[in-house]
């Protein structure tokens, strides 16, 4: 894992003091709310329905036990004993006081953490594959590149007042576990003629106008990674729309200019920038790589004792193949039946921290599906791990099932939401768990957003639910056929919306159509792609 040096530490410390000063000026009336808002947002501080909300960055989703413990302690000391893991691998607290915010940032800085640029119209936290450095199928570990980008994007003087927020994702496997093409820039580390480089996908995103990012360059040499990113950003900063907030994301610019013209402008800017010395020295990348080197893996048992069916089910569902055959990556589900997706109490965070230390080389990951990963667990330790997880209500065996849904905070917490997301998630998981259907359905990605901003990734759900406001009442639109993975696609709306009971019934109906029509090993998504929308519509509306 990356360790700060004195420079990195000084940067986050300076940021804490900068924010402390900004908060002081706000409280003294030297800053109006309009002036303060972008400043607090760039430190992750929102004003939500019930209080301020603080979003803490977990760069590329990687953290250690000490950091997880610090997050737990902040939850207990400054919040109401829990936090919420987000689809961008971050953590947010729901009950924060403005007068405490700088102290919280100072507590974070003590463990090399921060809330820098977790909101605002700037480059956000860099996201990545949650199995980075552990997966059997990756080309290299993408995190050194993500760290290089983290430093470059932190306090970037030219790109702090972009037209709109800007999200970058880096992966290094063909399998996309991070929704790479639904980012403003998706970077895929690739190999070409024995050389490692980066493919750039630009202009993806969800929100009210979902787009899949087109590739604009299939290979950027690694010693030009930052320069190329800078060129992409400069074209956007200069020409992204600022007349309409809803058309300000880079996806609209790329769409309106067309991929070719946007690419031409980027290449022109890139050619200019190559002469400007913006790229960090090559040695910096070489300095970063050893931080992410493999721990010392030991050979051991390669099979599990399946005598306990509950344990066997959890192993089947919640573990992922590791690059070393005596290890797996273990997924800790934050989706207990009828629970709040992504929420964890301070005590649960401490349990996860302890288990990471005990069983996973002191490392944890946050998934965009709002779960936690212990990346390197010995197969021999799995039963002991599972037993302790289960005791802490962290052992739900449901990864990638309908119960493992993504849900945004929705109208229960969020000032932008039109409808609640969490109660739907709770009722659906309970219903499918009780009926035993979860098992039959296999991989089924359900994603629920409480408004058109799509924080719950509904466009990318095999089944998506979007909450809308219909004459003051919550109403839900159903969509089918989305995917955030390497087979990326955008879901299509089935038809008229439903009330809360209606949409839960509708989810049941579309899963019944799937069970009826599926062939062989087809997933819900495969069946939908084969048979199209018509049979589902028929079941829903006729």
């Amino acid at each position: 894992m990356y360790k700060y040096d004195s420079y990195d530490q000084a940067m986050v410390d300076a940021r804490v003091e900068e924010f402390r000063d900004q908060a002081r000026r706000r409280l003294e009336g030297k800053l109006t709310e309009d002036q303060f808002k972008p400043l607090r947002l760039m430190n992750g501080l929102y004003l939500q329905l019930h209080a301020y909300m603080l979003r803490v960055a977990i760069p590329y989703g990687t953290l250690n036990s000490e950091q997880m413990t610090a997050l737990a302690n902040i939850a207990d000391k400054y919040d109401r004993g829990y936090g919420h893991f987000t689809t961008r691998q971050n953590l947010q607290y729901n009950w924060i006081k403005l007068e405490d915010a700088a102290d919280i940032l100072a507590d974070l800085a003590k463990v090399e953490m921060h809330a820098i640029q977790t909101s605002g119209n700037c480059i956000r936290n860099i996201s990545s594959d949650h199995f980075a450095g552990a997966a059997h199928d990756e080309l290299v570990d993408p995190r050194p590149y993500a760290e290089l980008l983290r430093q470059w994007s932190s306090f970037h003087p030219e790109f702090t007042y972009l037209p709109r927020k800007f999200k970058i994702c880096v992966i290094a496997a063909k399998k996309d576990r991070a929704a790479m093409r639904l980012h403003d820039i998706g970077i895929q580390i690739v190999e070409q003629d024995g050389e490692i480089g980066a493919a750039f996908y630009v202009g993806g995103g969800m929100g009210r106008t979902p787009m899949i990012a087109p590739m604009i360059r299939d290979f950027v040499p690694l010693d030009q990674l930052i320069t190329y990113s800078e060129a992409c950003l400069r074209v956007y900063n200069r020409y992204g729309r600022r007349d309409n907030k809803y058309k300000a994301r880079i996806k609209i610019l790329v769409h309106e200019l067309g991929r070719e013209e946007y690419t031409r402008q980027v290449e022109e800017e890139f050619a200019h920038m190559l002469g400007q010395g913006v790229e960090p020295p090559r040695e910096e990348l070489e300095r970063l790589k050893p931080f992410f080197a493999d721990p010392v893996f030991e050979d051991g048992t390669k099979t599990v004792d399946r005598a306990d069916p509950d344990f066997a089910l959890w192993v089947d569902r919640n573990t992922h193949r590791h690059k070393h055959d005596s290890y797996v990556s273990a997924v800790i589900s934050l989706k207990p039946v009828a629970g709040i997706p992504g929420d964890a109490t301070g005590d649960q965070m401490r349990v996860m921290a302890k288990l990471a230390k005990q069983y996973s080389f002191d490392e944890l990951r946050i998934m965009h599906t709002q779960n936690v990963v212990l990346p390197h667990v010995k197969i021999a330790d799995l039963h002991a791990l599972w037993t302790q997880l289960d005791a802490a209500d962290l052992g739900a065996p449901n990864m990638d099932t309908i119960e493992d849904m993504i849900a945004c905070p929705g109208l229960d917490y969020c000032a932008l939401a039109n409808a609640r997301s969490i109660p739907l998630a709770q009722r659906i998981s309970e219903k499918f768990d009780t009926s035993g259907k979860t098992e039959k359905l296999g991989e089924l990605k359900l994603k629920i957003s409480g408004c058109i901003n799509a924080c719950g990734h509904h466009h990318a759900g095999h089944i998506g639910i979007l909450g809308v406001d219909k004459k003051g009442k919550e109403n839900y639109q159903l969509s089918l056929g989305g995917s955030e993975a390497e087979d990326v696609s955008l879901a299509k709306i089935t038809g008229p919306g439903f009330d809360e009971d209606g949409v839960i019934e509708a989810v049941e109906k579309v899963t019944d159509v799937y069970l009826d029509k599926r062939e062989g090993e087809e997933r819900f998504l495969d069946t939908y792609r084969r048979i199209g929308m018509a049979p589902f519509k028929e079941a829903l509306y006729d």
Partner: protein, 152 residues
């Protein structure tokens, strides 16, 4: 920092200036006018203007003002950097809705004079200019980056 009372009759009152040369005290023209008019030495860039149109005339320009009608519109940061990258050495002045918390970034993008619509608190501004002891990005301000310092 030069005393703000000594800055002459420029239409925008310059509050902070990091140059020793004489202040340009005559009015600016638009980018379009500057391109048409061979003798203009001071120009004002609005957010939608293409700063690169000025590149052929940089030698004769002594002052470029970059207007920030609203502090949230960040196009002026790119405009400033582009001019400096092209070798412009005259005064680069941020004018308009220039606030405390933008000063350090503006400075890094090449601005060396600041004429905020509303005068800024001197102590707060002093602190803001000095926010970062070190920096992660290579820009046009000539500062060695953290990455460079690590590998010296």
């Amino acid at each position: 920092m030069t005393d703000r009372n000594d800055l002459g009759t420029s239409p925008d009152e310059v509050q902070f200036r990091f140059r020793d040369d004489e202040v340009v005290d005559h009015g600016t023209v638009t980018v379009d006018a500057c391109c048409d008019q061979t003798n203009a030495t001071a120009v004002r860039i609005e957010p939608g203007d293409d700063a690169r149109l000025l590149l052929p005339f940089l030698d004769r320009l002594a002052l470029v003002e970059v207007n920030f009608p609203s502090f949230g519109d960040g196009r002026g940061y790119s405009a400033a950097r582009i001019l400096r990258e092209a070798g412009y050495t005259g005064e680069l002045r941020a004018v308009g809705d220039v606030l405390i918390d933008q000063l350090s970034h503006m400075r890094r993008c090449g601005f060396d004079a600041f004429a905020p619509d509303a005068p800024l608190d001197e102590a707060d501004a002093e602190r803001a200019f000095a926010t970062w002891d070190n920096v992660y990005q290579s820009t046009v301000d000539g500062r060695r980056t953290i990455q460079e310092l690590r590998h010296e």
